[in-house]
């Protein structure tokens, strides 16, 4: 039993002052979390300072933090492991606990502090905190890539709420926030070089991300162990924002923008697709890439590349000409040309340095893979897990991130937004938890080759996606949490099955998240939390 004011970060070891400073930040964040464990706290300390003779105020917890390297960039190679020991020792009056967190990188140490916070609970009777008094933990994630995706184009999400999303990710040791920044609906990313994009494409002046806000969000996320991964989806899913070409003498940068009837030209309204035969399209694209790479890390970039509708392109006279000259009915070659040129622009924007592109599964990944070199590209799977395409991609040595829509689509359900389309069941926390990547890969490759694929680092991890047709800041958190916490456990621990202990753990963790300010959905009655183990079906066998 102790009070949070008696917790002290006594030692911080790091090979570089900036890492030390980051560790200091993470340590203070833990102290803040501890103060917030009091149900009456609103960020301030309301713990008593004396226990009226019980001596609680004499008990002290000391923490020492070590990060061995000066690595402060999250990449697919970041070592996130940590070890954590808690041991009692004796010195003076009162009880003493010493906590030692040791990690290769800052990010591992940060995760260790996150774990430590979960070993502490509020003691209602004594109005103090309690902590596991002796423990040794060696921990590391099963998968490198543990991501969430948020779409800020269908509906705009204020930065303040993206920060809260990052808070939630940090609490669950998720490490990649894939930011689907733009789409055909709106273009909220302010491009310094091409301000026309937001002028034409933002929903309103108030619904724009300024470079300053983006930079701030990137730093905010990094401190919390989260890498921000930008996506500029192209050539489809681009429309509003790209209309200004003709007015400025650049011709059509995008085609069929907001075209009707939409069903003829795209998968969902509003339509829009970049014009692959206009050289200015690539120049503008390159400028936006540069603006993005000025802000974001330069090792990974999401190029989108999903849901191309050739019907949109077919309708354009210039493209018809191009096609006639090649006597081909298949526009895959044209798309391939787009993809290769765009990738070239991306590399140029990166000062000619190598950068790894990610693309979604699409027509190109199923029958145009010639345009995607597996040495370069990471493929994000959004087919079902059991789709034959996954097998083909695995067999051809592509590295994969799984967002298979049979379990990882957080936006599914909640009614349709588009007439009678899109009637899906909600993907429940159980669905997310049960999405075992090992089983999927084994299904496709068999046991031995599956092991090989894991060994070769082909299976990077998973990502749960929240497309925002029916999401804004008012329901964002209840749609993310606690389902993404179940998802996080799947990717961090990769458990063999969903045992009965998951229910109470998730229920408790959900309350922990609420306590830290996240508006997570409720998954069970409070009685289930109070009578642990009673809220199961005694006749079911998991």
């Amino acid at each position: 039993m102790f009070y949070p004011q008696n917790v002290e970060i006594t030692h911080i070891y790091a090979p570089h002052p900036s890492v030390k400073a980051m560790l200091g930040f993470a340590g203070n964040a833990l102290l803040d979390t501890l103060f917030r464990m009091h149900p009456k706290s609103e960020g301030n300390s309301v713990f008593p300072t004396s226990s009226g003779g019980k001596g609680i105020e004499k008990n002290i917890v000391t923490i020492s933090l070590t990060a061995q390297t000066q690595d402060v960039k999250i990449s697919l190679n970041t070592d996130e492991s940590y070890s954590l020991t808690i041991a009692p020792y004796y010195e003076g009056q009162g009880r003493r606990l010493h906590v030692e967190i040791n990690a290769v990188t800052y990010f591992g140490a940060r995760h260790g502090l996150e774990t430590l916070s979960q070993l502490v609970a509020f003691d209602e009777v004594h109005e103090c905190l309690q902590m596991v008094s002796q423990s040794t933990i060696h921990d590391q994630p099963s998968f490198k890539y543990r991501g969430l995706m948020i779409d800020t184009s269908r509906n705009f999400i204020p930065v303040k709420h993206l920060k809260k999303m990052v808070d939630g990710m940090a609490q669950n040791k998720l490490n990649f926030l894939h930011w689907h920044l733009t789409d055909s609906n709106s273009f909220p990313f302010y491009s310094k070089s091409v301000p026309q994009m937001t002028r034409y494409g933002a929903y309103s002046e108030a619904e724009i991300y300024s470079p300053k806000e983006v930079r701030d969000l990137i730093l905010y996320s990094k401190l919390r162990g989260v890498k921000l991964l930008p996506e500029l989806d192209a050539p489809a899913h681009a429309g509003n924002g790209w209309q200004w070409g003709p007015l400025e003498g650049l011709g059509d940068l995008a085609l069929c923008v907001n075209a009707e009837p939409w069903r003829q030209f795209c998968g969902q309204p509003p339509c829009g697709q970049l014009n692959p035969l206009n050289q200015f399209t690539y120049i503008v694209l390159g400028e936006i890439y540069k603006d993005m790479l000025d802000l974001f890390d330069r090792d990974l970039f999401h190029m989108g590349g999903d849901e191309i509708y050739f019907q949109c392109w077919y309708n354009n006279a210039e493209i018809q000409n191009w096609q006639r000259n090649r006597s081909t009915f298949d526009l895959m070659d044209l798309w391939g040309h787009f993809q290769q040129t765009a990738f070239k622009k991306l590399k140029e924007a990166n000062g000619g340095n190598y950068i790894t592109p990610i693309v979604w599964t699409s027509d190109m990944t199923s029958r145009g893979r010639i345009h995607l070199n597996p040495v370069d590209y990471i493929i994000q799977v959004w087919t079902t897990g059991m789709s034959n395409e996954v097998k083909e991609l695995l067999s051809e040595n592509y590295k994969l991130i799984f967002s298979n829509l049979d379990s990882n689509y957080l936006d599914h359900g909640f009614g349709t937004w588009l007439g009678r389309d899109h009637l899906w069941q909600i993907k429940t926390w159980q669905d997310l938890y049960d999405n075992d990547l090992g089983k999927i890969v084994e299904f496709h490759l068999g046991v031995n080759r599956s092991r090989e694929a894991f060994r070769n680092g082909q299976i990077l991890g998973g990502e749960a996606t929240l497309w925002s047709e029916k999401v804004d800041q008012h329901n964002l958190e209840m749609k993310l949490w606690p389902r993404s916490a179940a998802f996080a456990e799947r990717l961090w621990t990769n458990p063999l099955n969903r045992s009965e202990s998951v229910y109470p753990r998730l229920l408790h963790h959900r309350n922990r998240m609420v306590n830290r300010g996240i508006h997570a959905d409720r998954i069970q009655p409070e009685s289930c939390h109070q009578i642990s183990g009673y809220c199961i079906d005694p006749y079911s066998v998991i």
Binding site: Y203, P269, D421, Q425, D521, I531
Partner: protein
Amino acid sequence: MLKQAAKIFKSYLLEMHPDNSNGNGLSNFLIAKGSANDKNRKISISLSVVWPDTVVKIGVDESYTLALIPSNDAKLIQVSIIANTYFGVRHGLETLSQLIAFNDDTGTLTIVQQATITDKPAFTYRGILMDTARNFIPISYLKRLIDGLSYNKLNMFHWHITDTHSFPFQSKRLPLMTQYGAYSSRKIYTIEEMKDLVEYGRIRGVKVLPEFDAPAHVGHGWEWGPSNGFGNLAVCLESRPWPLYCVEPPCGQLNPINDKMYNVLGDLFKDFLDIFENDLFHMGGDEVHFNCWNTTDEITKWLIDNGRGVQKEDFVQLWAEFQERAYGQLKDANNGKKLDAILWTSELANEEHVTKYLSNSTYIIQIWSNGYEEGKIIPFLIKNGYRTIFSNVDPWYFDCGYGAWVGDASNNWCSPYKGWQQVYTNSPIKILANYTGEDEAEEAYKAGLILGGEAALWSEQVDEQSMESKIWPRGAALAERLWSNPSTDWYTAEGRMVHHRERLVDRGLHPDMLQPEWCHHNDKLCHG
């Protein structure tokens, strides 16, 4: 009351300014870019009420007439709202607020210049049920729920206040109830809070209708009998394995053969009627599990000692006797005055038993059966003269679709999630007509046997963190069904729904989002 309604209306106007959250109130508007002309424009509103009604009751007149008349130079718009009751005028102000919009270019408000509206609800009972026993909902959030009801002219907040899980209702006569039954000392509704809530609702045209569910769906809160010389007030509390004794954990059911239990019930009813209005009471009455009683020695012994059996019909009869005695206690608590009681559809209210045990002059039946698959009970109840409230689970259960909360299934029992379109389409009259033909259904409606409808948010998987996006804006779709009973389908209401959702946000609610903002900017282009 009218002054309070006017004050609420004025707050709506301030909330229309996008910068409202800065707390500057009216001054947001005073820096408007609008012309001097705009600044000199005036709107004067007169409110008149004919009758002195001050309580929302079944059958209360909620009609109103609203007229907007511009002066010749358009500098003055005179608004008059006339209604038979306060509640009609209040609804009129609600409508008036929807004829006003914020103009982004000028920073001012704009209003429809000229209009005459004569309006009244199609159904007298337009409700939302919130359960505060599975999970506790802080009273401030119940106020926000009432706010939402009032924005949508819904008039009943059906408060499923207790259940087996917890007993958060503070009883003046029986403080042991919360002492044993509340989740914690912080999770109790005090008498003052509840009285305040009733008044808060009344001003907003919303009746707070309490439910005390019995004899099943009780348990926690009733444990104190044996140690206080009252015997077992409830039985099978937390019995295991639970599927043998109840429909969901934890189990618990009142002990119908314990005379002292009825006295306790009577005291509770008195406490309820001290706080709530005394014209209508929900007595619950659903999902009685006979095996609970049948495995309780005290009860089976009593049955046998009294020369009765332990077959299903014996338990139905025992339940019916419970219901009769419970109602007697309720009536006594109401100083011997009869009051309408609502019961859920159940084994007792089914075709076999309802006419035998439940009088149609006392009981209103709330239907939660699936409207089409198991809805034969509906024409039966109507034919036998019961007044009904529709809450058919197929679209009007707002808790459906999420992950299972018990067992290993993936989705919960009443999945899938009910989209607003289904909520909107669900027509009580059409459901009935499906069985009886349109003429008979229309007749039943005219005879006042279809009082209205209610959407239910059972709270196994809800607390204040997510309740608003589960209720809204679907509750608005429900409201339009029950107020206008439209013959057009959801398709024509879509643009209106999307816009109204933003109105709810302006007023501070956290509703679900229905479509990309692009669809709001481009009306009618987001159709399948």
